[in-house]
């Protein structure tokens, strides 16, 4: 924190009082952190400092440091296991960025020398398969498909069997978007997991829940339910190239402690970055990074 506190000599100082705390809470709430977490974060940051005179950059630095501290524990890249094929199931609500994220990840793994196969498990949405095929081409990775309207679980089964035969390192399975309160669709997802486990009881080795940064407090419900149904092992947050700051990730880290593997920062194939707690905290608090 000392390093972060690089203070600018000419900056005016203000007493850290209730008014100031409320302003900070509001800054955090406007990042979608949610009221409870925002209160907790500001309270932690103010501990032992109440009544002190601080400049606004000092305050933002302290706040960012507190957020970075929480997020440090969850910033972890997607683990790679020796198991072949390692099965990566990608889930989430509609339009969150699952298919795009698969394309980006496949490209990264391919570049790291892995042999990757993708299964087009969204057999529902119009042209979802064609969309994924384009991503497969871009990443230079084969895409296994099934006809529109067919059972995604049986595609997952076939894809895993084939990936085993071919000796692939990674199998990434795309799924149709589904809202977590739709129990029929969540059951379909549970079935995909069950069927995969018939082929390999240890699979899926990673279940990535893709969250959209523009989403507000509903992200908490999303994680809660998807975790129950499909054993989510890690999160990816997309669309952080917009102006949404993804503060709900702090609430999620607090409540669920799930690893955050990567963030989406655009629509191009390279627009997937590791999750960096310091950068995230700086952007969230509006801290000038220079």
């Amino acid at each position: 924190v000392g390093r972060l506190l690089g203070r600018k000599a000419d900056e005016p100082r203000r007493v850290l009082d209730d008014d100031m705390l409320e302003q900070l809470e509001e800054l955090l709430i406007s990042s979608d952190m949610g009221v409870d977490t925002a209160l907790r974060v500001t309270a932690n940051m103010a501990e032992g400092r109440f009544g002190k005179r601080l400049s606004s950059s000092e305050i933002k630095n302290l706040l960012a440091a507190e957020i970075a501290r929480i997020m440090e524990n969850v910033a972890k890249p997607m683990p790679i296991y020796s198991k072949r094929p390692q099965v990566v199931l990608v889930v989430g609500v509609n339009g969150s960025g699952k298919t795009t994220t698969i394309g980006k990840l496949a490209s990264q793994f391919k570049a790291a020398g892995k042999s990757v196969v993708i299964a087009a498990g969204d057999t529902f949405r119009a042209a979802a398969v064609e969309q994924l095929q384009v991503w497969g081409d871009r990443a230079g990775v084969p895409v296994l498909t099934a006809p529109e309207g067919s059972d995604p679980a049986s595609l997952a089964f076939d894809a895993l069997t084939k990936a085993q035969e071919d000796g692939a390192d990674l199998l990434m399975i795309d799924t149709a978007g589904r809202l977590q309160n739709r129990s029929d669709l969540m059951e379909e997802l549970a079935k995909i997991v069950r069927v995969i486990r018939k082929v390999d009881p240890t699979a899926p080795h990673n279940t990535l829940l893709v969250l959209d940064a523009t989403t507000g407090q509903n992200a908490l419900n999303q994680v809660d339910v998807f975790q129950k149904i499909s054993d989510v092992s890690g999160l990816v947050m997309t669309k952080l190239d917009g102006t949404a700051r993804g503060g709900v990730l702090v609430a999620l880290a607090d409540k669920f402690g799930l690893p955050i593997h990567a963030i989406g920062v655009g629509e191009q194939i390279d627009d997937l970055a590791p999750f960096d707690p310091q950068d995230f905290a700086a952007a969230l608090t509006g801290l000038d990074k220079t």
Binding site: I29, V35, V93, N94, G97, A127, T215, D224, K239
Partner: protein
Amino acid sequence: MFENLSERLSGVFDRLTKQGALNEEDVKTALREVRVALLEADVSLPVARDFIKKVQSEATGQAVTKSVTPGQQVVKIVHDALIATLQGDGDPGQLKIDNPPAPILMVGLQGSGKTTTTGKLAKRLKERDGKRVLMASLDVYRPAAMEQLAVLGKQLGVDTLPIVAGQKPVDIAKRAKQQASLGGYDVYMLDTAGRLHIDELLMQEVEDVRNVVEPRETLLVVDGLTGQVAVEVAQEFDDKIGVSGVVLTRMDGDGRGGAALSMRAVTGKPIRFVGMGEKMDALETFEPDRIAGRILGMGDIVALVEKA
């Protein structure tokens, strides 16, 4: 795990005085909890703040119906104020589609539901209003975006503009306009690529499209699960291209839909339709009282006060 407002308020209510009129302190106490409930429903902070201020002055001094507590009374006042804010003028379901062919421009962030909503609206126009509709995809960026609309068109029996590879969005819009006139269509719908409100290049692109077709309706499609950023998105789209209405999608989820209040309060644009699912018939005309109930999450108390 998520406490709703009723639970939150039940403790607060007990502490309120039980006198004939709402005093300032009672109202303040109840509204503190209401503010939190609004924020948890993703109402944007400045909107929640203004809204609370307005209700505070409206509620103070109001008579309390005998059989309800002051807290319950405040909730009812809040509920009514929510409806008043959400309610637009006129029928939200009535699109301006006179002077055929009438262009409708669909815009919004990535993945908000534009293409799906384009299909749903085309179906509605065709089946309810007996219109001949042409759909065109101007999304030259997202993989298979054009195919997606073409598939929907085929499913619905609604014509789509033939795909010409390599054409720019503005040129596709011109072609759609021409085809709509020549082909005797009543309406032509332009589905656009998802774009960030801060992406100057892409915002300029859709501005150019607007200038070419002069849409009768420009509908901003927004995910009903959107958080605090909703206001900024709606404002930017409205400033740059002019929005005539909002469609809220994914309201079949368990999101509270606070974005609706934020956008309506800040831009004054009417919310027209609500997406209630992925299927082509899952589109409803916006009803303010239903969304108000969801945002507040206290239907039980409102019903109680209404009966009293």
